[in-house]
């Protein structure tokens, strides 16, 4: 069965379900924005919701779930590894805000 035939065989019902889930999660992000919590906690909650949203969209809207498991792992591991690699600068960002000098 080709990819196109597989897509044809499943209905629009699942797509609508994922769409409404994404709408609800987007609404949750807006609700978090009005919570009386600190910026860092708000950021962490919103990022968690955004990651769930992105996962749902990639798996079901972009049909990553129906691809070969090896490809799914390739996309997931490669992307997550590089994204984690970009996080090295946060400590320096905090150093800037407290005005600590550069190390010599």
């Amino acid at each position: 069965m080709t990819t196109a035939e597989e897509h044809k065989s499943s209905g629009i019902g699942k797509d609508l379900g994922v769409y409404f889930c994404l709408l609800a999660l987007a609404g949750l992000q807006f609700a978090i924005a009005y919570q009386n919590i600190g910026a860092s906690q708000m950021f962490r909650r919103m990022l968690a919701v955004a990651c769930v949203e992105a996962g749902l969209a990639a798996l079901f809207f972009m049909h990553l779930w129906k691809e070969k498991r090896g490809f799914l792992l390739f996309v997931a591991i490669f992307t997550i590894a590089v994204l984690l690699g970009m996080q090295y600068g946060w400590t320096d960002s905090t150093r800037m805000v407290v005005g600590a000098p550069f190390s010599k």
Binding site: T3, A4, M42, K68, L83, G89, S93, M96
Partner: protein
């Protein structure tokens, strides 16, 4: 058969063994583009977060969520209409696929217009690339860079939607081309899911 011939034959067999991961070449190329573009957007968003975290007077210029909520709703809905268009194309319904692709393009255009309206409002309030009335001037550069990069992707997507839709209707493209385009459009939607909380919702003026 010489050793050279057998070596060449081995290489040729490797080159024609079929697409990687059994995915059509165009689709694989789009996925590789998406992965690379994810890195571009991630670098921009991490740099934005770095500057925001390191600035004590980061501006909070957004007074309400109505505009960004409407933009989010439109972009999410355009992903659904793109999916409906793809399903129509895979079912061989040319008119339906063309219609839904054009509806998606219209939704993208509406999103872009709302985005430009947001920009014009901020510019009218005195925000430029290097200064603004509320706090550090870094905000303008980072805001316009991230949202501008996303708006560029949306604009490119709208042009591609119209071009591919018209060629699909004319019989020059098939459902696989619509699928590749749909991947791009969903990616633009996924990026927006991260731009909204970081750039807009964390900077609401309470």
């Amino acid at each position: 058969m010489s050793q050279a011939d057998s070596t060449l034959g081995g290489h040729a067999a490797g080159l024609t063994a079929g697409p990687a991961f059994s995915i059509p070449t165009k689709k694989l190329a789009m996925w590789l583009f998406i992965i690379a573009d994810t890195m571009t957007f991630a670098a921009c968003l991490v740099a934005y977060g770095f500057l925001r975290n390191g600035s004590v007077d980061w501006p909070r210029p957004f007074h309400g969520i109505a505009n960004v909520a409407l933009m989010t709703l439109i972009l999410l809905t355009s992903s659904l209409t793109m999916l409906i268009g793809l399903r129509a194309a895979q079912a061989g319904n040319k008119i339906g696929a063309f219609r839904w692709t054009m509806i998606t393009a219209a939704a993208g255009t509406l999103f872009a217009l709302l985005h430009v309206r947001e920009w014009l409002r901020l510019i009218a309030e005195g925000m430029t690339l290097f200064k603004n009335p509320w706090g550090t001037g870094l905000f303008g550069a980072s805001f316009f860079s991230i949202t501008g990069l996303h708006l560029t992707h949306v604009t490119g997507g709208i042009i591609a939607l119209v071009a591919v839709g018209v060629r699909y209707k004319a019989g020059r493209y098939n459902a696989d081309d619509i699928e590749v385009l749909a991947l791009y459009w969903h990616f633009v939607d996924v990026v927006w899911m991260f731009v909204v909380p970081l750039v807009y919702l964390l900077n609401l003026a309470h």
